[in-house]
């Protein structure tokens, strides 16, 4: 399915993500990685880790409402997975993958790459290629280009 190319809006969104990452480091000395924040919220390694992560995740979840107030519409969410089972399967793989790799698009792809961390650069290139190959196989090999 076609989606509209939104360079300016996406650039603005990216800059906001960057701003949040810089603020979290400047104020609290923490990496803005969704994997680490979620894992630390659910299974805090130290006693104090839960509150600030809870506040960050709460803010995240409030964001679509703020977006709706600012723009007058909820953000568009078009799910591509053909069924809930497939979506859940993808979710389990994402969970296993980010737990093993200790990071995802935000932790490795933004914060780690911004620091030129070799691990993050390797991880990001690896998952970007894996995602690209997966999408190609799903859309052009398995379905013969029909999807």
């Amino acid at each position: 399915m076609e989606t509209t190319f939104t360079p300016f809006q996406s650039l603005l969104g990216g800059c906001l993500i960057g701003l949040a990452a810089v603020m979290l480091m400047a104020l609290h000395g923490r990496v803005a990685g969704a994997t680490g924040i979620l894992s630390g919220l659910l299974w805090p390694a130290d006693g104090t880790g839960r509150a600030w992560r809870g506040a960050v995740v709460t803010g995240m979840i409030l964001a679509p409402a703020l977006y709706a107030v600012l723009t007058g519409a909820m953000p568009v969410v078009t799910v591509t997975a053909p069924s809930m089972a497939v979506l859940a399967f993808g979710g389990v793989l994402v969970g296993i993958g980010v737990a093993l790799a200790n990071g995802c698009t935000s932790g490795h792809g933004v914060c780690g790459m911004a620091r030129l961390s070799v691990r993050s650069i390797v991880a990001t290139l690896t998952f970007m290629v894996a995602t690209g190959v997966t999408v190609y196989v799903l859309r052009h090999v398995l379905t013969g280009g029909a999807a």
């Binding site: 360079p7 809006q9 969104g13 990216g14 480091m25 964001a63 994402v94 894996a130 995602t131 280009g145």
Partner: protein, 137 residues
């Protein structure tokens, strides 16, 4: 004040996610579908986020420490192991199938869509699986 700032940071992050298009699997998957209905928007999300973070970190990490104290908690590992590579491959496959990454999915919970709750629950199960397996070693 500390908690309020964290809430604000989460809000800005989430607003960036939904504004940029990361909350929309159709847009995410299309970014990777160069051979099909390609939508390069996400390159602008990544580019913007990386540029601002790289520039901001340069100034921030030059300081003594974070405003609220405690020092900068920066990952120090430099080794490339099978866990990092294998995990990234598995994550990429899952991202391609579902169209959500963790940072894309968490703010999208706020839209109230059932699919996002299913995805996040499954993702948490996946993380838990790795934690439980790791404990047994």
């Amino acid at each position: 004040m500390k908690m309020l700032s964290c809430l604000l940071i989460g809000l800005i992050f989430g607003l960036g996610i939904v504004t940029g298009g990361m909350a929309n699997p159709a847009k995410v998957v299309n970014f990777f579908d160069i051979a099909g209905t390609w939508d390069p928007s996400l390159a602008f999300v990544m580019g913007g986020a990386l540029a601002v973070t790289a520039l901001g970190y340069r100034f921030v990490l030059r300081r003594e420490g974070p405003v609220f104290g405690g020092g900068f908690a920066l990952p120090t590992r430099k080794d490339i192991d099978v866990r990092l590579l294998g995990g990234s491959v598995v994550f990429g496959i899952g991202w391609g199938i579902a169209g959500f990454c963790p940072g894309g999915a968490l703010p999208t919970l706020g839209t109230g869509r059932l699919e996002v709750f299913v995805f996040v629950a499954a993702m948490i199960a996946g993380i838990l699986l790795v934690r439980v397996a790791g404990r047994g070693r």
